[in-house]
Symmetry: C2
């Protein structure tokens, strides 16, 4: 098994911190394991700290009052989850929830330690800036998809993404997961998939979706706006 990345490797601009700052990071960081399906972060009430992903996959989403979910982005090894340190981001006024989509190992840097460091280190402050701009772009992309693309086309794009994640045409993904990715109801996903199955683009079986015509799927995913 490949060794997981170390804290020094994962922490942004670690080498540019002073020896005291480096020691503060190392003293405060904790190794944590999040089993697949667990929810390591639940909105505003929960100030978990910054997650540095060593292994696995995290999904960040927003949640409506009645429990509807919309996926905003996913985090992979070497990514940093800033919004789980909600309490230090004074100007963030929305709740992000985080779910482990695979068995996931992270370092958690407590929010107050991270905040002190970003207030003292210009390279770290820039990094946070850059990261926030990237996530902002992700979220605007999701919004553009929701506003400007048909569900059919967005579902095709989601299947493409899961195909890339799986590295296979056989996708171990439920209609429920796709519905949460797209911010719609499971029934709508099922109906659309059945339509595409009747056409021969995919085949459906219990808990699995097999892509039969990847080229058609790709075209559908890139179809211009509704």
């Amino acid at each position: 098994m490949k060794a997981l990345p170390t804290l020094e490797e994962l922490f942004p601009h670690f080498a540019k911190l002073t020896p005291e700052q480096q020691a503060a990071v190392c003293d405060a960081a904790e190794e944590r394991h999040f089993p697949k399906g667990s929810k390591p972060h639940r909105g505003e009430s929960d100030c978990s700290g910054v997650f540095l992903v060593r292994r696995g996959r995290l999904r960040a989403f927003i949640l409506s009052e009645t429990g509807r979910e919309v996926t905003l982005y996913r985090l992979y090894p070497w990514d940093m989850c800033l919004f789980s340190a909600y309490c230090v981001m004074n100007s963030i006024r929305f709740d992000i929830h985080v779910e482990a989509e695979a068995d996931t190992d992270v370092f958690v840097v407590p929010a107050d330690v991270f905040d002190r460091l970003q207030k003292a280190s210009l390279p770290l402050s820039h990094y946070v800036n850059k990261l926030m701009a990237e996530r902002f772009s992700d979220v605007v992309w999701v919004m553009e998809q929701i506003l400007f693309k048909s569900l059919d086309s967005r579902l095709a794009a989601a299947l493409q993404e899961h195909r890339e994640l799986a590295g296979s045409d056989v996708l171990d993904v439920t209609h429920d997961v796709l519905a949460r990715d797209l911010g719609t109801a499971r029934e709508v996903v099922t109906r659309t998939l059945k339509y595409r199955a009747a056409e021969g683009m995919v085949s459906l079986s219990r808990g699995k979706i097999t892509v039969l015509d990847g080229e058609k799927l790709g075209k559908l995913a890139e179809r211009p706006e509704k």
Copy 2:
């Protein structure tokens, strides 16, 4: 007439910059006037610099391939428009457009000057961070509204906002402006307004909407999700 705020007053943490940095801001900043209806910034191709609003009102929006608009947020005097300095925000991958909704006066600080300053000044870097988090929150709010609220309720919220902007129950706002705020078609706005007019909540006349029942409007705006 009240004097407009000065550059020293508007520029974030001006007093914390070094004398050289202060001089760089003052030398580079330009006064600009944007007449009502003009579009001072048009997406990626346009690197206008950072706008510091002295007077008036700017609307930031995204634009679909077929020309549909969705309002993300509005900027008022003392606000700073970061995304009009697109080219310096390397990690921003979406296009923001800006329209003057009233006769607007700004200082423009060229993007390269602003970028050098934020790379050298920790207080300024923090300020950019905070500002981006605020805009990020605005955009997530808009997305939550679009996903989780009915159009009827969102239209009521938009009317409430224009009521506060105008300080009056008589709103000088077209169905087109409301449609762009909500990311929907003008016809849909007109239909919904007619329904509410028939109920006596509003009355409609050429280019004007008068709120007759503010309490009912308020309740509708806060109605839980669809």
